[in-house]
Amino acid sequence: MGACHEKYMDYMHAYLDGDIPPEHEQELKQHLKSCDACQAHMHELSDVVAFMKSAQPVTPPPNLTSHVMASLPKRTVSAGPQS
């Protein structure tokens, strides 16, 4: 892809970050109508984003808090200014 496409590549990522000035967005949309390569690229990137967003939450093990609490140093050596 040439230098022209590189510019639109930047616009695509700015668009995906919701970070694109309106005039660039207009320009990008116009370009995508006439350029199959860039349009395909944009589709692939959008698919990647949708795929990443499909990540399901994972649940921490139930005893995490108690393990953390058991691992803490005893109060007498605990950090910070003692009042």
């Binding site: 930047d10 990522h13 995906l16 970050d17 970070d19 690229h41 692939e44 990137l45 698919d47 990647v48 984003v49 949708a50 795929f51 990443m52 967003k53 499909s54 990540a55 399901q56 939450p57 994972v58 649940t59 921490p60 093990p61 995490l64 808090t65 393990h67 953390v68 609490m69 691992s71 803490l72 140093p73 109060r75 605990s78 950090a79 910070g80 200014p81 003692q82 009042s83």
Partner: protein, 195 residues
């Protein structure tokens, strides 16, 4: 939420260790999720999440309460994750599988060095594939992608967590998305039944 957290922090600093349990309860899900996505392994994620809370406790007096606690603890955790990834890189093999660990562990272990054949990709569940693709990302892209898409954090907050200029965060997200696109061109999810 910040007000409650700061109140608990003050109590901890005043010697009430038990008050820390509430802080752990509040943040453990998000922290564990980030660690899991970074490391692709439940045992390591648990390990690092605990370590992050321990370090936060020990260094609690250095936390600036005008800032967000989540940013601070995410920073501790992502640093620990990156250290772990860098340490384990060279010598992971398929025979490192332990009976009783789930399939994700195996994929994440071979991921860094080997590309799986299409036939194997086709057999993966969506969530499995997702973790496989994340684990193939170089760690500097992996952390921004995980924080942006798994945690849905604003770019400014990601920049504070990773202590990187905003411009660098943007560049890494762009490159991370491009890397995923290239990785997945072999078998895009759109060609898999689920999507």
């Amino acid at each position: 939420m910040d007000a409650i957290v700061n109140k608990r922090i003050k109590q901890v600093l005043n010697g009430n260790q038990d008050a820390y349990a509430e802080i752990v309860d509040l943040y453990q899900s998000r922290l564990y999720h980030v660690c899991y996505r970074m490391l692709g392994n439940k045992h390591e994620a648990e390990d690092i999440t605990q370590e992050a809370f321990l370090r936060a406790y020990i260094n609690l007096h250095t936390f600036d309460q005008k800032r967000k606690f989540s940013t601070w603890i995410f920073r501790i955790a992502t640093n620990l994750c990156i250290d772990r990834i860098r340490k384990k890189k060279p010598d992971y093999h398929l025979d490192a599988q332990v009976p009783g660990t789930d399939g994700l562990d195996m994929y994440s272990q071979i991921a860094a060095s080997e590309e799986l054949p299409v036939e194997q990709l086709e057999k993966m569940e969506i969530q499995e594939r997702l973790q496989y693709e994340i684990s193939r990302l170089p760690d500097k892209y992996r952390s921004v992608i995980v924080l942006k898409y798994m945690e849905e954090l604003p770019l400014q907050e990601i920049s504070e967590i990773l202590d990187l200029p905003l411009g660098t965060v943007k560049t890494r997200i762009h490159r991370g998305r491009e890397a995923l696109r290239k990785q997945m061109s072999q078998l895009p999810m759109t060609e898999v039944g689920g999507k």
